[in-house]
């Protein structure tokens, strides 16, 4: 390789790592039979290594069953990892208890996909957005009400709607309420799990812009979980592509979208429908066969080999390591695409 740092890319660190994850594993046991013995496990997340840098947006993208949502729940410690460590600001939070996590909940917040079910219908907006203050026992300057109204204004809602109930708002507005709630205690890291996929197209754009504005204004760090590659390209600084519980490719946005190296990434990008009729005929399509295999019994070695058009014998027997093939671009594949031309290898 042209680059010297072939290990985990420590040299190209531009900002400090806010959160690092190493060897992260989450298996959900499946019990069966008379004695309810564990017969198998859903290998939702199976060995992740990555870092989230201060102030950036790192996106996790992939299809259903790739483990992106589970990863989000692990990062916010809504789930406890089966193995591996999660380090937040230099502190190992992988196995902290509920009580030990509580003070950290101020710093790590989550935004959910469904703006309908994540808000309590019986509580006013004021109560919902003000809840984090009460839970954390924080008394903001000027009182909770004033602070909540400031939050509402920040996310583009009318502060006078303080006493309204969630059902009086549209989907996009409800997602804003959810965002206002997460912002209450000035978090450092926000994990957003499909925050715009339940919204209408025109509303999606509003929320995406809002998230970007807030990031700039409040110096937030995002982990953005999504299946929509177009949205991900728009919001991310870096992108990790996941497949069946593993990261197959992680890179800076420009590098990933210009030179996708993993065949899965290439196929994924080729499958995204584009609002341009000319592409119908011009575009070279790569069509993957079948669906994503079950994470209960994932294919051995390279998990993508069952659907990969480049798969060889080695893909069935040997798991490819996630190695750096370009600056800030790591890929786990034996036969990557778009290799840099002047490869001084061998």
């Amino acid at each position: 390789m042209a680059l010297t740092e072939t290990t985990s890319g420590t040299a190209d660190r531009e900002a400090a790592d806010l959160l690092t994850v190493s060897g992260l594993v989450k298996h959900f046991p499946i019990r069966k039979g008379v004695l309810q013995r564990q017969v198998a496990a859903v290998q939702a997340v199976d060995g992740l290594d990555f870092a989230v840098r201060q102030g950036e947006t790192l996106s996790l993208v992939g299809e259903s069953g790739c483990g992106k949502s589970t990863t989000g729940r692990l990062l916010t410690r809504l789930e406890e990892p089966t193995a591996g460590t999660i380090t937040f600001e230099g502190r190992d939070i992988s196995h902290l208890s509920e009580g030990q996590m509580r003070p950290l909940r101020r710093d790590i917040q989550m935004i959910f996909q469904d703006p309908y079910s994540s808000l309590n219908p019986r509580h006013t907006v004021g109560k919902i957005v003000g809840a984090p203050y009460r839970l954390q026992g924080v008394e903001p300057e000027g009182g909770v009400k004033k602070a909540v109204q400031a939050q509402l204004e920040l996310v583009g809602l009318n502060p006078e709607h303080y006493n309204r109930y969630p059902h009086e708002f549209s989907g996009g507005q409800r997602q804003r309420i959810g965002i206002a709630r997460t912002l209450a205690l000035k978090p450092k890291l926000i994990v957003a799990d499909e925050p715009v996929s339940a919204l209408d197209v025109s509303i999606q754009a509003q929320v995406v812009n809002l998230l970007e504005d807030l990031q700039e204004e409040l110096d937030l760090t995002y982990v953005f979980i999504a299946h929509d590659l177009s949205v991900v390209r728009h919001v991310s600084d870096r992108v990790a592509v996941m497949y069946l519980g593993k990261i197959v490719e992680i890179a800076d946005r420009e590098s990933l979208y210009s030179f996708p190296m993993h065949p899965y990434t290439v196929a994924l990008m080729s499958a995204v429908p584009v609002p341009d009729t000319r592409r119908r005929t011009q575009r070279e399509r790569i069509r993957l066969q079948g669906d994503v295999p079950s994470p209960i019994n994932p294919p051995p070695a390279c998990r993508f080999h069952t659907r990969c058009w480049k798969a060889q014998e080695v893909c069935r027997t040997e798991e490819p390591a996630l190695v750096q093939l370009r600056r800030g671009h790591r890929v786990a594949c034996h036969f990557p695409e778009n290799l840099p031309l002047a490869s001084p290898e061998a």
Binding site: E63, G171, R253, S270, P273, T277, L288
Partner: protein, 354 residues
């Protein structure tokens, strides 16, 4: 889809009228809060062998329209007026029994979520056999052979054994394939696909869109593709109808809609979506505000409260409802802005920022 743009603009084939014609359709639902005008004066048509994409956000009336064509609204719940002509026969005026006999046979439908759209207690084969036998007087054995053949045609591997599996034993993509097999089992002339890929993964979505395209060539049926995703219609549609608040905002060939859109709402939709095929823009251009309530639809142009160019109409947008009028070459636009201005705004202000 090898027809050139020129030929395609003159889409009405002489001699045979369009297979489905909807004229001034209104679907109103009386509720305690008032009348919900889900569809309020909608006209469009589709020919055999062509695909019409209906695009709109939630509440635009696109699904209500398809349910009306299929006659699936509950008797009494919806007040339907206007005409729905299926091969010349008016479905609004027809009896429920007459419409039922057309359903599944001459017009069929596939839905968004194939898991909930299939009965969990019956095998996939059983459900296809049922669909086939309603309209064809054949033995169970013949129907089963037909079901296996249909499963094979939509690309289900080992259809002989998979025919007896239950929906929960299929993967998401396979289920949608099975739904398509079910819909096509009686060789319908019209297929309505209501958000057929929204619940599916991207790679599977691409497979299903390919499948619909291939099958349409094979069956030569008219297809209505209902979706909120402009990317999906761009893949399949010959013509596109953009709906807003129960009415058509713009209609044209796919090229017209994507290359020369004239309605500010269409611009808004295009500006709202980040695009993989263009350089990344710094900011998306969303449409301000939210879709209107269908009980109190804004007076005049329903889009005017959200329209950035409403001021250019000299107040007409707030008072007079724009009709969907031909702006040339069968490109219909419902907008009060003078056409020259529309073309200029698109060329100078919108297109460069996409």
């Amino acid at each position: 889809m090898t027809i050139t743009t020129d030929e395609r603009t003159h889409w009405s084939t002489p001699g045979a009228g369009p297979f489905l014609q909807v004229k001034d359709l209104q679907v109103h639902f009386p509720t305690d809060d008032g009348v919900v005008k889900s569809v309020d004066g909608l006209s469009f048509s589709v020919e055999r062998g062509k695909t019409l994409g209906i695009v709109g956000e939630s509440g635009s009336g696109k699904s209500v329209t398809s349910m009306s064509v299929m006659g699936l609204h509950k008797a009494g719940a919806a007040k339907i007026s206007g005409q729905i002509l299926l091969d010349g026969q008016d479905l609004v005026a027809a009896s429920r029994e007459e419409v039922r006999q057309l359903r599944g046979k001459r017009m069929a439908m596939i839905f968004q979520d194939p898991l909930s759209a299939m009965h969990p207690y019956y095998s996939v084969g059983n459900q296809i056999i049922e669909a086939y036998r309603v309209h064809n007087d054949v033995s169970k054995k013949q129907a089963r052979a037909h079901a296996i053949e249909m499963l094979d045609r939509v690309g289900i591997p080992e259809p002989h054994s998979r025919v007896d599996s239950y929906p929960h034993q299929y993967s998401g993509g396979m289920r949608q394939r099975a739904m398509i097999a079910m819909a096509l089992s009686c060789d319908p002339d019209l297929l309505i696909a209501d958000e057929p890929t929204t619940a599916l993964d991207v790679t599977v979505q691409a497979q299903i869109l390919d499948l619909i395209r291939d099958l349409q060539k094979e069956f030569n049926s008219a297809v209505i593709l209902i979706t909120h995703d402009l990317g999906v219609v761009a893949e399949l549609a010959d013509h596109i109808l953009v709906m807003y608040a129960g009415r058509g905002a713009e209609y044209g060939s796919a090229e017209q809609i994507f290359n020369d859109p004239e309605h500010p709402y269409t611009w808004g939709l295009l500006g709202s979506m980040p695009r993989m095929d263009r350089d990344r823009t710094e900011r998306l251009m969303p449409i301000k505000g939210t879709p209107p309530s269908l009980i109190n639809v804004p007076v005049g142009c329903a889009f005017s409260p959200r329209c950035a160019f409403e001021a250019n109409t000299g107040g007409r947008a707030r008072t007079e409802r724009p009709e969907l009028l031909d702006a040339g070459q069968a490109h219909l636009v419902a907008c009060h802005l003078p056409q020259a201005q529309r073309l200029q705004i698109w060329r100078d202000e919108i297109a460069p920022k996409l």
